[in-house]
């Protein structure tokens, strides 16, 4: 194997992870932006002497920025996320500003978890979490997997560890 190329993880996440991320993670910032604009702005305009159209614009800009981030980050994240098994290694590659490429030999995994939050369940998604020995940075997460696939992956890891073959 040529080294650098073989480390490219082949698989993408399920596309419905995008709406899940928008709702799961982005919802908070959408709500905060909305609250800041509606009761927040009126309250400040009434009670703060130095309120001016300039501040109006700044606040509007901030709110728009937050909204844009909440809507833009999940698709970008989806485009960047790759994972997959290459040989007996689990590879992950993700991140927009900070790109991380992680490689974990399956044999080094101590245990495997599937985690499914309430919103995640609505979308039929699951997160695969694998742990290696050690205490710092020993958990590796693959989010946005279809529940069925996540189970298969988990079983595959357990099996690989069991009989030593794929």
């Amino acid at each position: 194997m040529t080294s650098a190329e073989s480390l490219h993880p082949p698989n993408r996440l399920a596309p419905r992870v995008v709406p899940y991320w928008i709702i799961g993670d982005g919802l908070t910032s959408i709500v905060v932006a909305a609250l800041a604009w509606w009761p927040g702005r009126d309250y400040l305009a009434d009670h703060w002497q130095q309120w001016s159209p300039l501040w109006d614009n700044i606040l509007l800009g901030l709110c728009a920025g937050m909204l844009a981030l909440a809507l833009l980050v999940p698709p970008l994240n989806y485009v960047r996320w790759r994972y997959g098994f290459v040989g007996d290694m689990l590879l992950m590659r993700y991140g927009i500003l900070f790109v991380e490429e992680r490689a974990v030999p399956v044999r080094r995994m101590q245990h495997v978890d599937l985690s499914r939050g309430p919103i995640e369940r609505l979308f039929g998604l699951a997160t695969l979490v694998v742990f290696t020995a050690g205490n710092e940075g020993s958990a590796f997460r693959v989010p946005g997997l279809p529940a069925q696939l996540a189970k298969e992956l988990r079983d595959r890891i357990v099996q690989m560890r069991g009989d030593g073959r794929l």
Binding site: M89, G95, V99, E100, E101, A103, R108
Partner: protein, 502 residues
């Protein structure tokens, strides 16, 4: 059944002293102020003592060929079984009081990551030594197979390199013995706040052992009111004097603290197990099987680098440097202070096989200098913009950040180097100090390549190597190609080693 036993009866005396000390406060109040406090003190005292007696009577440890079993408890029963091949370390610790009574606390560590798994407080020293002897004699069967399989995991001749059982298990090799001058240097160059922590810890330990309760609050208050009554210039002088005194005090106390903590430090190798003994007030003894060593670092702060001295530390599976107890007790230190070249010469004692490794040092990418310089420019722009409306043109002084950051970049680049040998992987980094780290590739758990914003523009990446103990090892500013190649090579080796472990 290899050994069986109970705690030493003198433990009851220790518990009695603890109970008395803890009840001293209600007792004093009971005598001087309110009489019914006496009742509380008595009840507490009897309860504590009863609990201690019950624990003492019920605790029993059994050592068999396969496991160490500790049973204790009357109402809340606990039965702990630790398989021998899971035991990482066996440590002894004895405070002054315990030493006077001929006792030692035995600490059993496993790889669970929680540090001490079981604590036997306390056995007679004879029993403790016996337990260790039996344990070490019983273990090699399991421990050494693990290490040979780890060795044969990597390719070819590596198995011969790592085979530790070539040495007679009964012969003890003295690897290092700290001289007083080395410890003096360690203390005098311990310029960190950590020095205060170490001394503070030692002093606290002493005070705690002697049962001293100091009351210094009134002194502090009177001192403050005295300061407030002085003219400003005198106050400044007093403050400068105080600062100097504090620094001098820091150096002196850290020297004393290090002398006390690492008194008569020695490191021995017996079979495949490293042993450390040290301490003046509290003596500590700790074993560290070489097969469990995950990483060895040689650390030099700038002052020590100037003097040519270094500290050697080792991470083992399960032990964590993050735990305050570990660092404060000096558990992770393998050699408290030695000449730099000697530290490097002693590496094979901790990482057998490293002596056959020809490390070809690779530099980091020179683009790292450009990256830090750009960071400096960005910082300078930010600082200027932030202070302009207050300082005016004087804010331009923050442009000095640019050359400063560039120099930092040059220094970092000059000190940075990495090397991947057959079975080991080494890194050195630092700005004015220098740190060297060596990791056996067979111990690698996972490898992560990380690129920041500027990193993506420049094609630079950080490589982080995770092992089962201690903090991860990070190499900054490799070219993305080097980082990926290294990641691939390391994980392939780790996977091969793991496959052989099964």
């Amino acid at each position: 059944m290899l050994a069986k036993g109970h705690l030493h009866p003198a433990v009851l005396l220790l518990r009695l002293i603890t109970a008395l000390r803890q009840n001293a406060f209600p007792l004093i109040i009971g005598i001087t102020v309110e009489e019914w406090f006496l009742v509380i003190a008595a009840v507490l005292f009897v309860m504590q003592l009863g609990y201690s007696v019950a624990r003492y009577l019920t605790l029993e440890y059994t050592l068999t060929d396969e496991e160490l079993r500790i049973r204790e408890g009357l109402l809340h029963r606990q039965d702990r079984r630790i398989p021998l091949d899971r035991i990482q370390d066996l440590g002894f610790e004895s405070t002054i009081l315990r030493r006077a009574l001929g006792l030692a606390v035995v600490m059993v560590e496993t790889a669970s990551g929680r540090g001490v798994e079981a604590r036997l407080d306390a056995l007679s020293r004879v029993d403790a030594e016996h337990l260790r002897e039996v344990l070490l004699a019983a273990r090699p069967a399991s421990a050494s197979t693990a290490s040979t399989s780890a060795a044969s995991a990597s390719t070819g001749d590596v198995s011969t390199i790592l085979s530790p059982q070539t040495q007679e298990p009964d012969v003890e090799w003295m690897i290092h013995q700290s001289s007083t001058s080395e410890l003096l240097i360690r203390g005098a160059t311990d310029m960190r706040l950590g020095a205060f922590a170490v001394t503070g810890y030692a002093a606290f330990e002493l005070a705690d052992q002697l049962g001293v309760v100091t009351q210094i609050t009134p002194i502090a208050t009177s001192f403050r009111s005295w300061i407030e009554s002085l003219p400003p210039l005198v106050v400044l002088g007093v403050l400068a004097g105080l600062l100097f005194a504090v620094m001098a005090f820091g150096v002196i106390t850290s020297t004393l603290g290090n002398l006390v903590q690492f008194h008569a430090f020695n490191l021995r190798l017996r079979g495949d197990v490293l042993q450390r003994r040290f301490g003046l007030l509290t003596t500590r003894q700790k074993t560290l099987p070489r097969a469990r060593v995950q990483r060895v670092t040689i650390e030099q702060s700038w002052l020590r680098r100037l003097l040519g001295y270094a500290v050697v530390k080792a991470d083992s599976a399960g032990g964590s440097r993050g735990d305050g107890q570990d660092t404060a007790g000096g558990w992770d230190v393998v050699i408290p202070m030695t000449r730099t070249h000697e530290a490097h010469a002693l590496l094979p004692a901790m990482l057998p096989g490293v002596e056959r490794e020809a490390f070809a040092w690779q530099p980091g990418s020179p683009k790292l200098i450009a990256r830090t310089a750009i960071q400096g420019v960005l910082l300078a722009i930010l600082a200027t913009a932030a202070s302009w409306w207050q300082l005016g043109p004087a804010a331009l002084w923050s442009a000095l950040l640019i050359p400063l950051w560039t120099v930092l970049g040059v220094l970092t680049w000059r000190n940075l180097g990495w090397s991947r040998g057959e079975a080991f992987f080494a890194l050195q980094h630092g700005i004015i100090g220098k740190n060297f780290a060596c990791v056996p590739t067979a111990k690698v758990q996972a490898v992560v390549v990380r690129q920041g914003v500027v990193g993506q523009l420049f094609g630079l990446a950080d490589l982080t190597v995770y092992v089962a103990g201690g903090s991860p090892t990070r190499i900054p500013d490799l070219t993305i190609h080097d980082a990926r190649t290294l990641q691939h090579e390391l994980t392939v080796r780790a996977a091969a080693a793991a496959a052989a472990d099964w």
